[in-house]
């Protein structure tokens, strides 16, 4: 347990929809998970089971009904469930990377700016940030003529690769991947598998969702079936 980076204990998530007759929708309950540095845990379960909901809880995007999500740092530990917004911001800036299923585009911002942004926020100088962004975009086969354009008009696969580049550029110690290979061709899937292996080698603790069995087999150290925790 000494190298555990991320420990989820007895997590419960319910939704209450006040505007729809206060419908109560329990998602999961009693879910626990531990991920070590350099390890990739993969969540299993059919669509609608709450896999993405779980990742969103880890990212502080969804509120946690009960339970804890603890991150272990050299200086001590932090529970995401009780973290203030300023701390969630700090964690997102420095610690937790998240590749969502869909790119939420900020209009009028160029693809390369979006990819360099996580490094710039960390205070890395412009030249280094843009150089790394360019390297990553090239590796993910985004044609150079698109770099200066806003991804609003990009194809689904291109948008997904911009998201992937944003998630992998900053060497986050914790990485959340929500079906990063869903709309990619074989060539780009292979790049993503490479990126995951590199992140693991650097010690990242990864939690991912992969519907593609082939990718899952290549990256997973631990496979967790969410079905048993569904309420």
């Amino acid at each position: 347990m000494s190298s555990a980076r991320l420990v989820v204990n007895n997590l419960q998530k319910d939704f209450i929809l006040h505007t729809q007759n206060s419908a109560h929708i329990p998602v999961f309950n009693g879910f626990s998970l531990s991920v070590n540095a350099g390890e990739c845990a993969v969540l299993l379960g059919p669509s609608g089971m709450g896999k993405s909901t779980f990742l969103k809880c880890l990212y502080g995007n969804y509120k946690i009904t009960s339970g804890s999500i603890t991150l272990y740092f050299e200086e001590g530990d932090i529970d995401i469930a009780t973290c203030s917004p300023e701390w969630i911001h700090g964690l997102r800036r420095q610690t937790i990377g998240y590749v969502s299923q869909f790119l939420r585009v900020i209009p009028r911002v160029a693809a390369i700016d979006l990819v360099a942004e996580p490094l710039l926020i960390q205070g890395i100088d412009k030249d280094t940030a843009y150089q790394q962004a360019a390297t990553l975009l090239a590796r993910l086969h985004i044609p150079e003529k698109l770099w200066a354009l806003s991804p609003t008009t990009f194809s689904g696969g291109e948008q997904q690769r911009i998201n992937i580049a944003r998630g992998f550029i900053a060497d986050y110690p914790v990485l959340l991947l929500d079906e990063p290979t869903a709309s990619l061709d074989a060539k780009n899937r292979a790049v993503v598998v490479e990126l995951i292996h590199e992140a693991k080698a650097k010690g990242a603790a990864i939690v991912g969702i992969f519907h593609d069995e082939d990718v899952r087999d290549k990256v997973a150290d631990n496979v967790i079936d969410l079905v048993e925790f569904v309420t």
Binding site: H18, Y62, W87
Partner: protein, 263 residues
């Protein structure tokens, strides 16, 4: 892994602020802290107390009770209504900036664009005409207004240009805290996008802290790190912008979020 470094000295601390005009009209029980570089959005329906709160924060309306504590450039913590009028005005001029919803309320319409910016600079002690004019031209370019129009009157500008001029006027004196009341209200969407983009860039480049009243949740998502949701004079929910919008907890916030039309 190393713990992130998080700012622990708030720029502004609001404790139990209350300003009521009638029962549940105005704002009450408002508590929050704003950190340097943070953009805080205040959302809620008309009449929920958003603008009342903003007026309290901007030194324009003393609350009935509660404290508003500002951490100055010099490192002093000032309760903005405990200091005398002259000192408060100086603080507002030198460290605060206020962007009004209607540019004509924030601009002087009978003097030139350059003079609108220059006036603010002179208010904080700049006296060199040539320098003031250079700074004014420079700011016009930053907000994408042709510097050749420095001598034109704001009334000769379009609504979107007037709003950008107002932003230039406010930012020219390098405020640390900018308060905005519906900065893109009443503008058409393409102009709105340009202003949002401008605000986003300037906030990041100048490390500004911003408190913004808006009822446009799309604007809030784009610009604000954190949100406060108000209903009937009270804060019903607050937190990270994406958490509030994607997983709202309070019935009123859920109603607000579910009522948004997406094109």
């Amino acid at each position: 892994m190393k713990m992130p470094v998080v700012e622990t000295q708030p720029l502004l601390t609001v404790n139990n602020v209350q300003k009521l005009y009638a029962i549940n009209r105005g704002c009450q029980d408002v508590n929050f802290s704003l950190y340097p570089g943070e953009v805080l959005g205040i959302v809620g329906e008309s009449g929920s107390g958003k603008s009342t709160l903003l007026n309290c924060l901007s030194g324009q309306a003393a609350p009935n009770s509660g404290d508003i504590i500002y951490h100055t450039r010099a490192g002093e913590d000032l309760n903005i209504y405990d200091i005398n009028e002259a000192k408060r005005r100086l603080l507002m001029r030198s460290e605060f900036g206020i962007v009004k919803q209607h540019p004509r309320d924030g601009l002087r319409m009978r003097v030139s664009a350059g003079a609108n910016i220059g006036e603010r600079l002179m208010a904080v002690g700049d006296r060199h005409y040539g320098h003031i004019r250079d700074v004014a031209s420079n700011w016009l370019e930053q907000v994408e207004i042709d510097a050749e129009r420095v001598d034109h009157l704001p009334s000769e500008f379009s609504g979107g240009m007037q709003q950008r001029l107002q932003i230039a006027r406010v930012l020219a004196t390098h405020p640390r805290l900018v308060l905005m009341d519906e900065p893109t209200g009443g503008l058409d969407v393409s102009v709105q996008a340009k202003i949002l983009d401008l605000i986003r860039t300037l906030v990041a480049d100048l490390n500004l802290s911003v408190i913004m009243v808006t009822h446009d949740l799309a604007v809030a998502r784009l610009l604000c790190h954190r949100l406060i949701v108000m209903q009937k004079s009270r804060v019903v929910e607050s937190g990270l912008t994406d958490q509030i919008l994607d997983d709202p907890q309070h019935a009123y916030t859920q109603l607000l979020v579910s009522s948004v039309l997406t094109p």
